[in-house]
Amino acid sequence: MPDYDFKETKTLDYKRPEIQNGYTDQTLYINLSDLQIDIKPVAEKTKKTFIGGKGYDLWLLWNAVQPTTRWNDPENALCIAAGPLGGTPIYPGSGKSIVATLSPTTGSVIDSNVGGYFGPYLKFSGFDALEIQGKTAAEMVVFIDGVNQKVQLFETSGLPENAYALSAILTEHFGQGKPRNISVVSAGPGAKNTLIGCLNFTWYDPKRKRARYKQAGRGGVGSVFAEKGLKAIVACWKTVTADTNNPADKTRLKNVAKLHSREIVELDPKQNEMAKIGTTHLVTIMNDHDLLPTHNFRYGQHDQAPNLGQKVYRRLFDPGFDGCWMGCTVACSHGIKDFVPLTGPYKGQKVFVDGPEYETIAGCGSNLGIFDPHTVAEMNFYCDAYGLDTISVGTAIAFAMECFEMGLIDSTHTGGMELHFGNRDAALEIVHQMAIGEGFGQIVGQGVRRMKAIFAKDFGADAKIMQDIGMEAKGLEFSEYMTKESLAQQGGYGLALKGPQHDEAWLIFLDMVHNFMPTFEQKAEALHWFPMFRTWFGLCGLCKLPWNDIIPEDNKDTAEPAKVMKHVQWYADYFSAITGIEAGPDDLIKMSESVYNFQRIFNLRMGFGRRQHDDLPYRAVGPVTEIEYESRVERYDKQLVETYKADIDGKSTTEKLAMLRKYREEQYEKLKDAVYKRRGWTTDGIPTQKTVKRLSIDFDDVLELLKASGVNS
């Protein structure tokens, strides 16, 4: 007999609507405080303006919260949506869910996209989006049963804490012998006891007969989930075909899907082999270009980096199909079978690790000065099991390690840990402490912004130097790319709406390696077009990898190779085929522009969203310490002399550091000006009234907010 218990507390029977052209035109609302379950229609204006996915999430959240709402208030809403194209099994990368909520670390809106089956199953069950408000003291499981047309709330007891064990049990319990019909969303104890919790979304792997996991990692979405008292959300659906989305033009859909799918099958083996090694090829490529973060983003290169490269993971990954959505030919979600952790509750047991991907390798490996693939896999495993974001965990521990090395904190603050770079045992111990919310791990689990405040206030650490080396902006920890030598990517991180995550713009190679955008105007254009197109994937429920990670062989001969316009046209065809709304590439950009500007205004409403909030820690812009400068002295001296026409004769490293900093910070401010102008924003980084009118987001409360913020035209 199982030793866990489900007590049904509320059930709503509903009639599932037929999906029309990728939409159900209704959303599911649940309030955990009063056990309310409602179904809300989607207004035509909402559909036209916000498209779906992240757009729907933002609109639901905007209407749920007030400017005074904080992440742990009951009215904060956790929203999850697919998008009109989400759930198409014949087009690669069509299974993404997008999560949005108010973040515990940024205080503003956070969005995070994730693979797995949940978003599509939610939609096929009859809901374009899910909105959860309220809080419960009980442990609550939400069951959305699209097959039997029921939404149920259960109070549970006895279920395991960690995500792996929990999802396995829920998959079996609700699957009733059909585990592929189930997708589980859960967090874990780390999410409950830190502010950097992630959400685990499952997909069922029939070959390995196990639930597999993808993570919505960024900004503490898992911590919001845990704070609400949610144990899990489970969606149940049955067979998925190309007809399930009821596309407007099935023949057109099949034609374009076949083109893209076949191209990936043909070209991925000739390019990055993502179907075999995922994103691990990036490790040595980044390292060779001085772009792989090591030692808290001090440097971009280390001679031991190949220990974490694709050669190693090619051997470690369990071969087989690893698509996190049905029929995806990229199939990059690899894992390690029969891995045996050396620490923690699974010590000595064989487990399956879902990952690692590049970000985890860099964050929990090189950036900590750890070049051991076993430790990275163990960090990956426990972060997932505990519901922790591997990017924030890596960047936060890296910051703590550098503070330790600089003498800003010592072993009396770390509970006796000698927190030097490369200390594998300490890094793992911090992760285990995060899970129980104790020890130094409890402090690290608050994220870099709060760590800086705690170290200064309680440990007397120098706030100024921590501001320079603490790798967060807007309260979000940096993802794992070096930006010192790419002004465009500094903008890609600093001007990103939610904070420094690369899903808005990844321009490092185009800017630094290829020098495709030498002027401010060109950089600004790139920082307009790329964030807009990348946003579009989040509106529609898609993964961006098929767009520009596998590329047509003749792409390099096109006018704008970085945009991969052949694929952009395919995506426009795909959108038209499903929705019946004829769209071209420019239309896709305009769809995103509305949502993008709305999110910027949402930031403003929450007390952020101005120029000052786009600032970066100087470590992201240039060398902070003399040792960093001297490690690349030729590069920096040359730049001072040739680019900035500075006289460095007889100047000390300290003086040259200061000169370089002045120039580079000026460049970044000039970049802000150019980007704001291109985006139709004021010099303070706020969308103008003209911009919001052009984009049809001139809602009364938006215009009132702009006026109150001094934007009158």
Partner: protein, 65 residues
């Protein structure tokens, strides 16, 4: 003989990636090539030898994140 981008190129002793790209005459600024399963980046093109019978792939590195 080396296989590269659907073509066959004659191999010679001491041939580097830079030599191979020169011989191909492709002006695209490749940042990465793959020789069999080994990724080689532009900073290493001039000193990386291409072995005989290698399969070389020219990687269009526009993505990453």
């Amino acid at each position: 003989m080396i296989q590269v981008a659907g073509k066959q190129i004659a191999w010679r002793e001491g041939m580097t990636v830079s030599d191979l790209l020169d011989e191909l005459g492709d002006p695209h600024p490749y940042a990465v090539v793959r020789i069999n399963q080994q990724y080689v980046t532009r900073p290493n093109f001039a000193q990386t030898l291409v072995p005989d019978d290698a399969e070389v792939y020219l990687i269009p590195m526009v993505a990453g994140g």
